[in-house]
């Protein structure tokens, strides 16, 4: 099938620390999981490559500390990556490793091409701004200056994520965790990004709220055909949302495939542990 990925990630790498000759080798005895006992460097993301296709939901699973958030934040330019390439197939961007673009160009991508929902709402929202103000902020960053249309769009988005309109002026700090996540989703969607990153959107929410957030994501995907990377350590979430998934361990991809295949016929020893521990 000759299909062009909307995002191509190649050999992405992120280390906290300078590294040393001992930890260059992935099999080094000095490495305890992702941590080098010789120099103290954390190898949070190691040689990660994958493709994201238009309109698909790609799941990323892995235990705590496996590098999922670091990788997502790297794609979103929240932190500089140590090495690697990222290509986005969008007008004006094709063929450029976006990691090497100027900060102004990166800001353009963040504001117009990407949407991000952080694991911790504190990172995605100004907790003491009104909810609608949080949404408007992103639209202003993308160049929108028309107050009336932003307000209308903001209200429409809040309605879509089931936040009662009478609460639009309220600050997210007064909201429950589930509502904060839904405001984050509304904000991330505000300028119709073709690519959306979701980091543990349902973690810590109670079950019925989880279900409504999952419904919402599924609906967004069906109706807007947005390409999404969904990070979760909850296999049930991944099963529900993603057709294809990637399993990460110690900063590396150890397995990828169709989500049902990963769950029913896991190949890697670690994936088997992860899956069987649920049965």
């Amino acid at each position: 099938m000759s299909e062009t990925p909307i995002v191509q990630v190649r050999h992405l790498q992120k280390q906290f620390g300078a590294g040393c000759p001992h930890c260059l080798d992935k099999e080094s005895v000095y490495l305890e999981k992702n941590y080098c006992t010789s120099c103290g460097t954390v190898h949070a993301v190691r040689d990660v490559s994958f493709d994201l296709y238009p309109g698909e939901v790609l799941g990323i699973v892995g235990e705590s500390g496996s590098g999922k958030s670091t990788m997502l934040q790297g794609l979103y330019f929240d932190g500089d990556m140590t090495a690697g390439e990222v290509y986005i197939n969008q007008p004006g961007l094709a063929g450029h490793n976006v990691l090497t673009l100027s900060s102004q160009q990166k800001r353009y991508i963040r504001n117009n091409v990407y949407g991000m929902v952080y694991q911790n709402p504190v990172h995605g929202l100004k907790m003491n701004f009104s909810s609608i103000g949080n949404i408007a902020e992103k639209m202003i960053a993308a160049g929108n200056r028309h107050v009336g249309s932003m307000e209308k769009r903001g209200e429409e988005l809040l309605k879509n994520v089931h936040i009662p309109l009478r609460r639009r002026k309220e600050e997210p700090q007064n909201f429950s965790g589930g509502m904060q996540q839904r405001v984050q989703i509304a904000k991330a969607l505000s300028n119709n990004p073709p690519i959306l990153f979701l980091d543990e959107v349902t973690t810590g929410l109670d079950l019925s709220v989880q279900a409504s957030v999952l419904d919402l994501i599924k609906q967004i995907q069906r109706e807007l055909q947005i390409s999404m990377v969904v990070v979760s350590h909850d296999l049930a979430v991944i099963r529900m949302l993603a057709d294809r998934s990637i399993v990460m361990l110690n900063g590396e991809i150890i397995e990828n495939g169709l989500t049902d295949q990963i769950l029913e016929d896991p190949q890697h020893e670690y994936t088997q542990q992860l899956v069987y521990s649920l049965l």
């Binding site: 099938m1 999952l214 294809r244 049902d260 016929d265």
Partner: protein, 240 residues
């Protein structure tokens, strides 16, 4: 003209922490023509589900070929096909039904069937109309259309399952003991449904426990015990 040809299919499961390999199937060989119903017979644990799940690629086979004649891709080996190709085929050409209903929670019966159509790129209006047709066709009481299926009876769940799979008009439908938990009456209803699908030209590969049920329904039988295909149920026993 065969639509599906399985050649030398082999699959074993390696369980790392037990340091163990479980052989499931070996050297499986059969083929089906478009519009036929192939029944797979064999005792529990003989590898029937493994064959169906290998065709659907829920399992990754270790050996052989599964040649499928696709509308979209022409002749394609389902073992070698890319994940994106398999996803396309699952959305548009190949369906799978088991006795388990595995769906998004808090989604109504009607929405589930509609979503299956929206996934294929149908418009909202077409999806609504086709979903209602399918639910009516499979005799789902309209009072259930707006309810969540977690409260449904086994038979209702199964009919919904079949409606979701068949509303897409799959060319190839895999049935893994869908009737396993049903009473006699519901079973015969499923048989009627299968007959309807056959009339529509759907190719079917099915596993059913009881021979009586398969009689007159399947065109060919693959016997796990002898690893051979025959054209009648005679001589095939379940106890093996």
């Amino acid at each position: 003209m065969s639509i599906l040809e399985v050649n030398g299919l082999g699959k074993a499961f390696t369980i790392h922490h037990l340091n163990k390999t479980i052989p499931a199937v070996d050297e499986i060989q059969f083929s089906i023509n478009a519009g036929e119903f192939l029944g797979i017979m064999g005792k529990s644990g003989s590898g029937k589900s493994t064959i169906l799940k290998s065709i659907y690629r829920t399992y990754l086979p270790d050996a052989g070929q599964i040649m499928y004649d696709s509308n979209q891709f022409g002749n394609i080996d389902l073992i070698q096909a890319s994940e994106r190709e398999i996803i396309f085929l699952r959305k548009n050409e190949i369906g799978y039904v088991s006795q388990f209903l595995n769906v998004m929670p808090r989604t109504t019966c009607r929405e589930l069937v509609q979503n299956a159509l929206l996934e294929m790129g149908e418009t909202r209006e077409t999806a609504r109309i086709e979903a209602e047709k399918a639910l009516t066709h499979f005799e789902m009481d309209s009072s259930l259309w707006n309810s969540y299926p977690n409260t449904f009876s086994g038979g209702e769940k199964l009919r919904l399952n079949i409606a979701m799979a068949t509303v897409k008009k799959p060319r190839l439908l895999l049935l893994d003991e869908p009737t396993a938990s049903l009473d006699q009456q519901s079973k015969w209803k499923v048989r009627e449904i299968i007959e309807k699908l056959k009339e529509q030209g759907t190719t079917l590969v099915g596993i059913f426990h009881d021979i009586e049920f398969m009689e007159g329904l399947c065109d060919k039988v693959f016997d796990m015990k002898t690893n051979e295909m025959s054209v009648s149920l005679e001589g095939v026993t379940h106890e093996g």
